[in-house]
């Protein structure tokens, strides 16, 4: 029975193609926006979580600001991410003195600009860090080497593959100079492309980064530091919990008892990042969902107009024996077909946007079956909600009044 109604609905919608297309457009835009945003969120999450998982179970992150609170540390303070870095060079020096830590790796954000003799880039990360970074984060070089302990005070740089491509038209930039804050650094290595997105464990996209030793990174901005985080690893025969305990006590001492930092183990970091991305996705997704609502109202509007225009048709159908229920189902199916078709096209559009993101950006959105099922359920729901009133209006028309229209 439903097949008949759906066929009739499609035939009816085909008679006014422009109107149908424009009505569907609202749903298409709404569904594609929601699916794209959710898939971007999912993609970011999987990228970042993959990064964190690659850190290794013993890597501990110290971040500025009190990111977690509550008795179980389950409450995330998103605004703490915006606070100025409370971590200082003194903290790095103090932690390095602790016997229980094998690695103390500062991640110091210097500037966002770098230039070669040929070009200038203004949207990159120039990071001052230590020689242990490749081992700790699982990075490797494509050309040249990472700087070692001996080069810790020299003006050398390791650049990401995107930076290499944009700053130097030649294939091998090793030995060339890169200018950071007016000072020249010699390129010593080029990193392999990594699947890092914008938001990664180290808060840096290493494809678009210039890595310089920590000491010179302080000097070029007058000895100041802007530490995004400090990565630490416990020494041999020291448990991560013990290392955290020691680091916590030390930092609390240097910060004069004020706990304006957060020490996170790998699983806590996972939880934190998950929470942050979920919140952001939900927030932006909710804004996109408003367009879905607008699309639904569009369907209702057009359906109501259609009922008014087709009053005589309703009268004829009732005169030849259609019951109220049959008229209701007919108009209901039209709304449902309109929204479902819109939803289907919206998912297709989202898939195309997904491909475009993968081709032209470093983002890696993930459209999974949950997102698609959710989109289908939402569009069917919109069809049901916004077609009910017009369908009821059509069904309740008195046959003779409808025929006289």
């Amino acid at each position: 029975m439903w097949t008949g109604y759906i066929k009739a609905a499609i035939a009816s919608l085909r008679t006014s193609r422009w109107r149908t297309t424009l009505t569907m457009l609202g749903i298409v835009i709404g569904v594609s926006s929601v699916v794209t945003i959710v898939s971007l969120g999912e993609g970011l999450k999987s990228q970042v979580l993959g990064q964190i998982n690659r850190l290794g179970p013993d890597v501990i992150t110290i971040r500025p600001g009190k990111l977690v609170s509550g008795p179980d540390g389950n409450s995330f303070n998103l605004l703490a991410l915006l606070s100025t870095s409370a971590l200082s060079d003194n903290d790095v020096a103090t932690l390095k003195k602790l016997g229980s830590l094998q690695t103390v790796l500062p991640v110091n954000f210097v500037t966002s600009s770098a230039a070669s003799t040929e070009a200038e880039l203004n949207n990159i990360s120039v990071i001052g860090t230590g020689p242990q970074l490749p081992q700790t984060l699982g990075l490797s070089t494509n050309l040249g080497d990472f700087f070692d302990d001996r080069a810790a005070n020299e003006k050398v740089a390791i650049i990401g593959p995107d930076v290499a491509a944009k700053l130097y038209s030649i294939i091998n930039p090793i030995g060339h100079t890169v200018a950071v804050a007016g000072q020249d650094f010699i390129v010593r290595g080029v990193l392999n492309p990594s699947s890092t997105g914008l938001l990664v464990a180290a808060q840096t996209d290493f494809n678009s980064a210039v890595l310089i030793p920590y000491e010179p990174s302080k000097e070029i901005v007058g000895g100041k530091t802007n530490l995004l985080q400090i990565l630490i690893q416990p020494g041999p025969n020291v448990s991560p919990d013990q290392a955290i305990k020691d680091a916590h006590a030390t930092l609390l001492k240097t910060h004069e008892g004020v706990e304006d930092f957060t020490i996170l183990k790998q699983h806590q970091l996972l939880k934190l990042v998950n929470g942050v991305i979920n919140s952001a996705t939900t927030f932006i997704g909710s804004i996109a969902a408003i367009s879905l609502l607008v699309g639904g109202v569009g369907i209702m509007n057009i359906m109501l107009a259609s009922v008014s225009e087709r009053t005589r048709e309703i009268g004829i159908r009732k005169a030849v024996g259609a019951t109220n229920r049959q008229i209701l189902v007919q108009f209901f199916s039209e709304g449902l077909v309109l929204s479902s078709l819109g939803g289907f096209l919206g998912i297709l559009a989202a898939l195309l946007v997904n491909v475009a993101f993968r081709l032209y950006t470093s983002l890696d959105p993930v459209i999974n079956w949950t997102v698609i099922s959710l989109a289908i359920v939402i569009t069917i729901g919109i069809g049901i909600i916004f077609s009910t009133a017009p369908a009821l209006k059509a069904a309740r028309k008195h046959p003779i009044d409808a025929l006289r229209a």
Binding site: M1, G4, A11, S12, T15, R312, E313, G315, I316, R317, K318, A319, V320, G321, A322, T323, N324, R325, Q326, P399, I400, L403
Partner: protein, 291 residues
């Protein structure tokens, strides 16, 4: 038992000062197999009567029995089923759905019976063959002549083999040739035993009817049984020899058209040719009996 029986049926439209009495205690009884032509001046309630008989509208007062069962007070869904199974409509303005072709329009009532598309298209095609427009079955209504559209409308009315066919001025929009074709079709259906109620202004069409009912001011004022092939005498005298509007009528604010009822004309006929039953006389007699 009469197939259709209306007992003192009234229909009011509007409310307050704007109330209009469309039907005023109308009585009517139609037997199975009759071809009843309904005539009367414009606004006398013919279409309202047809709408009530066809269950498109409900009476304000009175009783309507269809095949002996009360039909006016039924729920809308039950009425819809009766319209689907027992009543076929033919309208003056055809009322085909313009976005469907002739075949789909004809098959429409079967869709509401839950018949499969293949079966209903086959049956619609057979009916269109019967009304002589099978070769046009895939045409859209706008591509057909008035007569062909009306034949398609008749096919649609017949597809469920209804016991009653209601035709509201079926030839009102047709030229004489198409009118004849449509009327021959209705006559053919009558010969096959269908009950037909037809509203018309054309006295010529009373040739096809077995009984002519005259209405005025919302009530049935005269009935005349006629032989098939003969024009009803009342219609002949009233409509073919039109009276002119007199100065007195103008003063009274009426026209000759508003007085198109054959009561006076029928009275003047020689007694032999009169086969008249006057409803008014019957009602007066009934009242006398009651007293």
């Amino acid at each position: 038992m009469a197939l259709i029986e209306l007992r003192e049926v009234s229909k009011l439209f509007g409310f307050g000062d704007a109330t209009t009495l469309a039907l005023d205690e109308a009585n009517l009884s139609v037997e199975k197999g009759e071809f009843v032509a309904i005539m009367g001046p414009s606004g006398c309630g013919k279409t309202t009567l047809m709408n009530i008989i066809g269950l498109l509208d409900s009476p304000t007062h009175g009783e309507y029995l269809l095949a002996g069962k009360p039909a006016a007070g039924l729920k809308s869904n039950q009425q819809a089923k009766l319209r689907r199974d027992q009543i076929g409509f033919v309208f003056q303005f055809y009322n085909l759905i313009p976005t469907m072709n002739v075949l789909e329009n004809t098959a429409l009532p079967l869709a509401y019976r839950g018949m499969t598309p293949v079966r209903r298209m086959k049956r619609a095609s057979d009916i269109l063959e019967r009304v002589g427009i099978r070769e046009r079955e895939y045409y859209m209504p706008k591509h057909l002549s008035g007569g062909q559209i009306q034949r398609a409308a008749i096919a649609r009315a017949l597809i469920n083999s209804p016991s009653i066919l209601i035709a509201d001025e079926p030839t009102g929009n047709l030229d004489s040739h198409d009118s004849k074709v449509v009327m021959e079709l209705l006559a053919d259906l009558h010969r096959q035993g269908n009950t037909i109620l037809m509203v018309t202004h054309n006295p010529e069409l009373t040739r096809y009817a077995s009984r002519v009912i005259y209405m005025k001011d919302g009530t049935v004022v005269e009935e005349e049984e006629t032989d098939i092939g003969d024009i009803a005498q009342g219609a002949l005298l009233t409509y073919l020899r039109r009276r002119k509007t007199t100065p007195m009528d103008v003063v009274a604010g009426v026209s000759a058209l508003m007085k198109d009822v054959p009561d006076k004309a029928l009275k003047d006929l020689p007694k032999k040719s009169r086969k008249v039953k006057t409803t008014r006389r019957r009602r007066t007699a009934k009242r006398k009996v009651r007293r």
